[in-house]
C-alpha cells in the first residue's frame, strides 16, 4: 500500500535528512515511525502527503506513483486516499463538531453519512457531542474527533504525526488501538510517527529513522 524506494531528502547547505530510505507498509498493517527530534519523521510524512518533494527516490501509494503526480493531482489523491492526523488536535473553532467531521466532504466529494458519524462518535465514547463547539471538549476528546475526521473518507492510507503527543496514556492507548483496528478492518496502511516506544510496539512494524536505541526492546 505504501512503498518507498531509495528516498533521499537533502536541503541546500548539504544537510541530508535521510538517504536511500526504503520501506513498505502492506495493506492492513501499521508502521510506527520512530526517531529523535530532527530525525526527519515529519519531513517523511510531509513527502508522503505531497507537501514536500523528495530530492530523489520514489513513493508509491495505493499503486499510484505519487511522487510523479502534479501538485493538483497530489491534492486530489490526498483528499480521497490519505487521512492525516496531527500532533495537535486541530479543529476549526467556529464550526461545530459534526461540521468539523464533515469538512473533508467539502473537498473530497465523498459522502459521510450521519449514521457513520454517530456510530464513530459512539465507538470513541463521544456520544451526543455532535452539535457542541470544539472549545467545549477536552484535548483528548478533540483529538479523537480529529481521528474520526481523518477516517471519515475511509482512506486507504492514514498518516499520523505524533497523534498521542499531547494526550494522557489512556487516551493515547485508545487512539493507537483505534488506528490499528482501522488498518485491519479496512485493509488500510497506517503509519504513525511517535516517540513512545511502548505504543510503537502495538504496531505491526517499526521504522527507526536514526539509530535504534539499545533499550528500545525493553
Amino acid at each position: 500500500m505504501i512503498q518507498v524506494s531509495h528516498l533521499k531528502k537533502s536541503y541546500p547547505g548539504h544537510l541530508t535528512v535521510f538517504d536511500q530510505l526504503s520501506f513498505s507498509v502492506p495493506a492492513g498493517q501499521t508502521l510506527a515511525l520512530c526517531g529523535a527530534s530532527g530525525s526527519g519523521k515529519s519531513t517523511l510524512l510531509a513527502m508522503l502527503c505531497g507537501l514536500d518533494i523528495p530530492s530523489s527516490g520514489e513513493i508509491v501509494l495505493n499503486n499510484t506513483h505519487f511522487s510523479q503526480l502534479s501538485t493538483h493531482k497530489k491534492i486530489q489523491f490526498r483528499s480521497k486516499n490519505i487521512g492525516v492526523i496531527f500532533q495537535q488536535a486541530i479543529l476549526i473553532p467556529h464550526l461545530s463538531i459534526i461540521e468539523n467531521i464533515r469538512l473533508p466532504q467539502l473537498y473530497s466529494h465523498c459522502d459521510i453519512s450521519d449514521e457513520w458519524i454517530g456510530q464513530s462518535l459512539k465507538n470513541m465514547q463521544l456520544d451526543g457531542i455532535q452539535n457542541r463547539m470544539p472549545h467545549e471538549l477536552s484535548i483528548g476528546q478533540q483529538q479523537r474527533v480529529c481521528v474520526i475526521r481523518a477516517l471519515s473518507t475511509s482512506p486507504k492510507i492514514v498518516l499520523a504525526d505524533e497523534p498521542t503527543g499531547a494526550l494522557d496514556p489512556p487516551n493515547a492507548n485508545y487512539i493507537f488501538d483505534m488506528l490499528t483496528t482501522y488498518a485491519k478492518i479496512n485493509d488500510a496502511a497506517v503509519m504513525i510517527a511517535t516517540h513512545d516506544w511502548i505504543l510503537a510496539k502495538k504496531c505491526s512494524n517499526t521504522l527507526w529513522l536514526d539509530k535504534e536505541p539499545a533499550d528500545a526492546d525493553k
Binding site: 515529519s42 495537535q88 464550526l95 461545530s96 461540521e99 464533515r102 469538512l103 467539502l106 473537498y107
Partner: protein, 366 residues
C-alpha cells in the same frame, strides 16, 4: 458548500462584524450615502415624471425675471404671445399666511387676466385658481372659509410656480386678500398652451423672442423655455448635490474597503491553522478564494442591510433641510447591489490569494 457550512460562515462573518464593528461601520456609512444618492435620483426622477405628465411636448413657457412688470406690459406680452397660440398667464406672488410661507398662483386665460391688478385682487372664485404649498395645519384653518386647497410637497425651487403647476392635479385659488400689504410681485410667467409650432424649431423660439423684444420691456432676463429645457434646468440644480454625495459615498466605501482588506489579511494570519488544515484536506487555492469571497460578500451585504436600516435617519434630515423629498425606506437598486458585489470581490481577492499560498507543512512540523 453545505447549508450548515454556509450558516457557519454567516455566523463567523457576524462574529467578525461584532469584533471589528468600527472598521465595518465605515463601509455601512458608505453604503448609506450611496443609498442617499439613489434616493435623490429617484426623487428627481419622480419630479421629472410628474413634470412630464403636466406638460405637453408642444407647450412653451415664457418667464420674465428682473423687475415687476406693470399691468399694461402684461397685456402687451399677452397680446404678442397670443399670436403663437392660446396664452395662459400665471402670476406668482409670495406672502405669509398664518406664519407659513405660501406661494400663490393666480391663473386664468388672457381675458380674466385683465381684471387682475398689481395688488392681486382676487378675481371670480369660480374661474381663478391658485395653489399653495402650505402645511396641512394651515390648510385646514383656511378650509374654514369653505374653500378647498391642494397641498403639495415643498417646492422651494428656482421656479416654484412651474413646479407647483406641473405637480398639481387640481389648481385651487387661495385667498390673497388676508394680508394685502405683504403681497409683492416677483415674477410673471406666461404659458403658451397648445402652440401650433414645434418647440424643437429654433426659428419659432426666435420668433417669440423677437416678439417680446419688440415690446421694449426693459426686463433684463427673459427666458423662453420648452418643457424639456425646464426639466434639464431642474436636473442641473441637483447635479452638484448628487456629485457631492456620490463622491462622499465612494470615499467612505473606499475607506471601508481598505479597512476590510486589512481585516481579512489579519484573518489570513489568525486563521493560518484553519487554512492549512483545509489545504491538507484537499482545498485548492480557488476553494479558499471562494471561501473568502463568500465571507466578504456576507459581511458586505450585512453592511448594506444595516445601511438600509439607518437610512430613514438620513432621509429625515435630508427632507428637513433639502429641497427634494426622498422616501424613508429604500431598497437597494441593482447598481447598488452590484457595487456591493464588486466591493466583496475587491476585498476578498488578495486575502484569498494569500490564503492559497499557505503551506500546510507547518501543521506537521509543529
Amino acid at each position: 458548500m453545505q447549508i450548515s457550512n454556509l450558516l457557519s460562515v454567516v455566523h463567523f462573518s457576524a462574529v467578525q462584524w461584532k469584533k471589528n464593528w468600527l472598521s465595518l461601520l465605515t463601509l455601512t456609512i458608505g453604503f448609506a450615502v450611496l443609498l442617499l444618492v439613489q434616493a435623490l435620483n429617484q426623487g428627481v426622477q419622480h419630479r421629472y415624471e410628474a413634470a412630464l405628465e403636466g406638460l405637453q411636448p408642444n407647450q412653451i413657457w415664457v418667464s420674465a425675471y428682473g423687475k415687476p412688470i406693470t399691468e399694461i406690459e402684461r397685456r402687451a406680452i399677452s397680446q404678442q404671445l397670443s399670436k403663437f397660440g392660446e396664452v395662459f398667464p400665471l402670476h406668482t406672488s409670495f406672502s405669509l399666511l398664518d406664519n407659513v410661507r405660501a406661494i400663490y398662483w393666480v391663473y386664468g386665460s388672457a381675458r380674466p387676466l385683465q381684471a387682475i391688478t398689481s395688488d392681486v385682487i382676487p378675481p371670480q372664485l369660480d374661474r381663478n385658481i391658485a395653489l399653495s404649498n402650505m402645511s396641512e395645519n394651515s390648510t385646514s384653518e383656511l378650509s374654514n372659509e369653505n374653500r378647498s386647497y391642494q397641498v403639495i410637497p415643498s417646492v422651494t425651487h428656482l421656479n416654484p410656480a412651474f413646479l407647483a403647476f406641473i405637480h398639481a392635479k387640481e389648481i385651487i385659488w387661495v385667498p390673497t386678500d388676508q394680508h394685502p400689504s405683504e403681497h409683492r410681485l416677483s415674477a410673471q410667467h406666461f404659458m403658451i398652451l397648445n402652440a401650433p409650432l414645434r418647440t424643437d424649431n429654433q426659428n419659432n423660439i426666435d420668433q417669440i423672442k423677437r416678439a417680446l423684444a419688440s415690446l421694449n420691456l426693459d426686463s433684463k432676463v427673459w427666458h423662453v423655455n420648452t418643457p424639456n429645457e425646464l426639466l434639464k434646468m431642474q436636473q442641473l440644480n441637483i447635479k452638484g448635490m448628487l456629485i457631492f454625495f456620490m463622491t462622499l459615498s465612494f470615499v467612505a466605501i473606499f475607506a471601508g474597503v481598505i479597512n476590510f482588506i486589512h481585516l481579512l489579511l489579519l484573518n489570513v494570519r489568525q486563521r493560518h491553522t484553519e487554512i492549512a488544515l483545509r489545504i491538507m484536506l484537499g482545498a485548492r487555492s480557488f476553494d479558499l478564494m471562494v471561501q473568502f469571497f463568500i465571507e466578504a460578500i456576507v459581511v458586505t451585504y450585512v453592511c448594506l442591510f444595516l445601511s438600509c436600516i439607518v437610512f430613514p435617519i438620513i432621509a429625515v434630515i435630508m427632507n428637513y433641510y433639502g429641497t427634494i423629498q426622498i422616501s424613508y425606506w429604500i431598497l437597494p437598486s441593482l447598481s447598488t447591489l452590484f457595487i456591493c458585489y464588486v466591493v466583496a470581490v475587491i476585498c476578498s481577492i488578495y486575502p484569498g490569494y494569500l490564503a492559497g499560498l499557505t503551506s500546510p507543512k507547518d501543521l506537521l512540523i509543529s
